[in-house]
Amino acid sequence: MTKTLVFKILRDLRLVLFVTTTLLCLFQVFWAKIMERIIAQLAPFFHGMAGYSGIDISDMEKVVFDGPGKLMRTFIGGDSVDLNNAMDMFSVGYIHPLVQTILCIWAIGRAAGALAGEIDRGTMELLLSQPVGRGAVIVAHLIVDLITIPIICLSLWLGSAIGCTLVAPLTLKDYDNMIQPMKPLQIELGVAGLQFKVRDISVGKSPPKIEAGKGKLELRPMDFGGAMLAVASLLFSITGVTMAISAFGRFRFRVLGISVFLVLIMFLTNVIGQVWEPFSILRPFTIFYYYQPQPLILGKPWMVTFAEWNSGKPLVHVPFLLVLFGLGGFGYLIAGRIFSQRDIPAPI
């Protein structure tokens, strides 16, 4: 019985699932090409420009990511991301706002339609007039999540793997013809009896030469596999929360509206909290605070520390995956409880 229901739900979702996975996969391929251009061409160019102009590249980054630019830095993963490291930059594809938007649309759209949508269309009455328990309906949707979420995650990973294959090995474009490392100079100027001295100008170092596909240019497609856990946890948490809202609802679009509003508020709170210190204490109340695929890709600890609540010092270490999967599971439990006790209204 549950199997029949699961197949039916999968059948209903197949087109949307195909579109979602294709979009995500293509985006990752596209992102790899963008990153290739940034790492292999633009970065060396700016290094060259910096060297030619006698500016330290870190000072250049400070200027670019200061003020409103901080928002950009936030979107790409914060200060921990090394802009010259290929894996760091490729990992941005998993937290890109477009990717997060597609993931949220999938999760909210699916879960909103699951219960409130069926009630709204009137088909829940047809379904529940069969010997199908309300708990079985929730379990069927949980099983569908367990099938579709890995497919979505795999599509992202596949996109990354294809993208890496297309751009590998990453080779820095040579701008040596532009970079003229200056020799230490000593200039003496004398005007009207005053003497100025400018000396020891030793800036203008060209970036260290890196062998193609090695060191910071090395791409390890398998490492993106770790991010799938983070993506899965984000999808599951949003689906679970929306499913709980859906269990209360009668109209699909009302549930969609509430869920989108909630997720949007959380997204903005998380972003603003990163660029504006006083707002940062609110970040742990958002789902996106716990969505951290980059540590999983880059081999960093899988923890959130709630330092925002403790003047920047780690308060407690909590695995972020546990929080998101727990939230999703809790959402499903609430949905099951509410849905098994509520009245199913007649279709309008």
Binding site: G122, E125, L127, S129, P131, V132, A136
Partner: protein, 289 residues
């Protein structure tokens, strides 16, 4: 006892949609529930199906409580909703396969034969079907030979007269197979045609329940007296209303006694008709719809 409700009640705040419904349906019995819109017919059916949680009281099907043991209860039921909503992205056959799958048994073997009898193409997408055709597909589901109880909420809605006759015939066939049928309706003629028992619901209360045989033996008597004076009494004769010389009466008893009584009264004019449902319905709801 296949279906039993005990003081089944549903309230929404101060509004009582169904008030202490007590009823029973046996196997092989066809029960018709009559009432105007908003009387509580659909609420009763939805409580029996476990869509709604009773405020108080209970309903059970073959001993399984509709709310707490709904899955087992609904195994015994085939249901046709009043407001029919099907999965529009399926064909008729896919829908039948899906719902049979939920019941854990294969689609009935005589499906194509019945579909032909109903004059429907079950391989057509439901989205392209008219509401009448969709209702026929739903009837294929409902007229399930394996269900102990068939529940239909205003089943003849949107059906053409031919199909209405076919449906009523199918209900009779179901009764012959030993299945019970419980349906709500506005249309008294179809209830009269197939029901063994009839109930009338008014403002959430079951105000009348009687076997059709008893109704068929009853008579409505309308007479115009020669004068305003009192009339003699007769066993089984009850006054419904009187306006000066016009009397409306209900009679249950031998026709011979009634004729003798009429002769004694010597009315200016009179008529005697079978009681039927019309009189009952009018009694509780005024003019029939």
């Amino acid at each position: 006892m296949l279906l039993e409700t005990q003081a089944l009640t549903k309230r929404y705040g101060d509004f009582t949609a169904l008030d202490a419904l007590d009823m029973r349906i046996d196997q092989g019995e066809v029960f018709g529930l009559l009432g105007p819109n908003g009387a509580g017919k659909s609420t009763a059916l939805r409580l029996i199906l476990g869509f709604l949680k009773p405020t108080s009281g209970s309903s059970s099907i073959a001993g399984h409580d509709s709310w707490t043991d709904g899955v087992r209860a609904r195994k015994k039921i085939a249901y046709l909703p009043g407001e029919l909503r099907l999965y529009e992205n399926m064909t008729g056959r896919q829908l039948l396969d899906f719902l049979s799958g939920l019941r854990g048994r294969p689609v009935r073997t005589d499906l194509q034969k019945i579909a032909t009898h109903f004059d429907i193409d079950i391989d057509a997408p439901l989205a392209t079907m008219s509401s009448g055709m969709k209702r026929k597909v739903a009837l294929l589901l409902v007229l399930d030979p394996y269900a102990d109880l068939i529940i239909m909420d205003e089943p003849t809605n949107t059906l053409d007269p031919t199909m209405r006759e076919i449906l009523l015939d199918e209900v009779r066939q179901a009764r012959k197979r030993g299945q019970a049928v419980f349906f709500s309706s506005h249309v008294m003629s179809e209830v009269e045609a197939v029901c063994d028992r009839v109930g009338v619901i008014r403002k959430g209360k079951l105000v009348f329940s009687e076997k059709m045989n008893a109704l068929r033996t009853g008579r409505q008597v309308k007479i115009k007296l020669p004068s305003d004076g009192p009339v003699s009494e007769l066993d089984g004769l009850n006054l419904v209303w009187r306006r000066e010389r016009f009397l409306h009466l209900e009679y249950s008893g031998s026709l011979e006694n009634l004729m003798e009584w009429i002769a004694r009264v010597a009315p200016e004019d009179f008529s005697v008709e079978p009681m039927g449902l019309e009189g009952i319905y009018r009694k509780f709801h005024g003019e029939p719809q």
